[in-house]
Subunit: 166 residues, 2 copies
DNA sequence: CCAGATTGCGCAATATTCTTTCGCATCTGC
DNA sequence: GCAGATGCGAAAGAATATTGCGCAATCTGG
């Protein structure tokens, strides 16, 4: 039963830190309605138990010079576990690949890639990704614009469920 | 020229905060090789200029009870700007949709969705997404497993480019 | 080549926050 | 009831954030 050990205060802490990861502990404590020391203890517990896996600054990719974002749908020849793992390891080694998800259906993997410009991406696509062992097909789609990019999960939905189910 | 105003110290700051958004300012200053006050001033400037758009705790989705992650490829009937915007606004209103990217090619949008369970997602898919105005086709793929999920951009690539181009 | 302006650093002092310790209340199972 | 466990909050000391200021290096326009 996932999340069973979390009380409403813990979930509020997670929601607040997901929205603002640099909030001071005193501010966080004020928002969740307890004093600072127990609040900090809860945060540490959440970190150690893996509910919080890290904190990250979100940087403006375009402004930093990464003008190109691409989704790549990849099909493999072999779906044997050893071959899947080998491809995943290759993705982890490619810095331009930021995300790699294994999917069901006809597509085996979806990759989210970034690059400074189109030619850099094209070079990666033709010389690395398409050329990689066991890769059968690659279909790419350029991101025209991003309408929504929310981190993490919708805690509202979670609270609704807890309210309904107990 | 994006990122032109950033010197190597600024880029190092961004890289460090992207990797660990809760690093203390003194630790950050130590790592980038300057003292704390100017380091904090740089961080504030980076925040105000939009290079840093926010800080977020990354939460463990599965452990929190969001067992299902899905990529949805959406095609629309009309690609007129007003219709595109209307669909994007709908995506922003759906809490289960975490990301919404407009793409080139035959697929108009790719959506990253989360849900507590399959039936919740199926209900959203049939009653909300597929049923939405102007939606022509929806193809969904369940995420089996995630091999890589790195936030932001690869600063190594950026440094290589700066080293090569000046 | 040289004032004057600008920029950015580091030191020092203050304010805020973090973190630990400890005592107390509440809950739980027997 | 009652012992043990759990979790809270107050207080104090340590670490950190933040501000003000003087100084050096780099530009800029004579």
């Amino acid at each position: 039963m996932p999340g069973a050990k979390l009380d409403p205060i813990d979930r509020k802490i997670l929601a607040e830190l997901q929205a603002d990861g640099r909030m001071t502990n005193v501010e966080l404590a004020k928002r969740v309605g307890i004093s600072a020391p127990p609040c900090l203890r809860r945060v540490r517990t959440l970190e150690e138990s893996g509910f919080i896996s890290g904190y990250h600054a979100r940087v403006n990719e375009r402004e930093l010079g990464f003008e190109v974002q691409v989704f790549a749908m990849v099909g493999l020849h072999s779906q044997a576990e050893v071959d899947l793992s080998a491809f995943e390891q290759r993705c982890r080694d490619w810095p331009l690949v930021r995300e790699c998800h294994m999917l069901n259906g006809e597509i085996d993997f979806i990759l989210k890639c970034v690059a400074p410009d189109l030619s850099t991406f094209q070079r990666f696509l033709t010389e690395e990704l398409t050329a990689a062992e066991n890769v059968a097909s690659v279909k790419t789609s350029l991101v025209i614009r991003c309408a929504k990019d929310e981190p993490g999960v919708p805690f509202d939905v979670l609270e609704d469920r807890y309210a309904r189910l107990g």
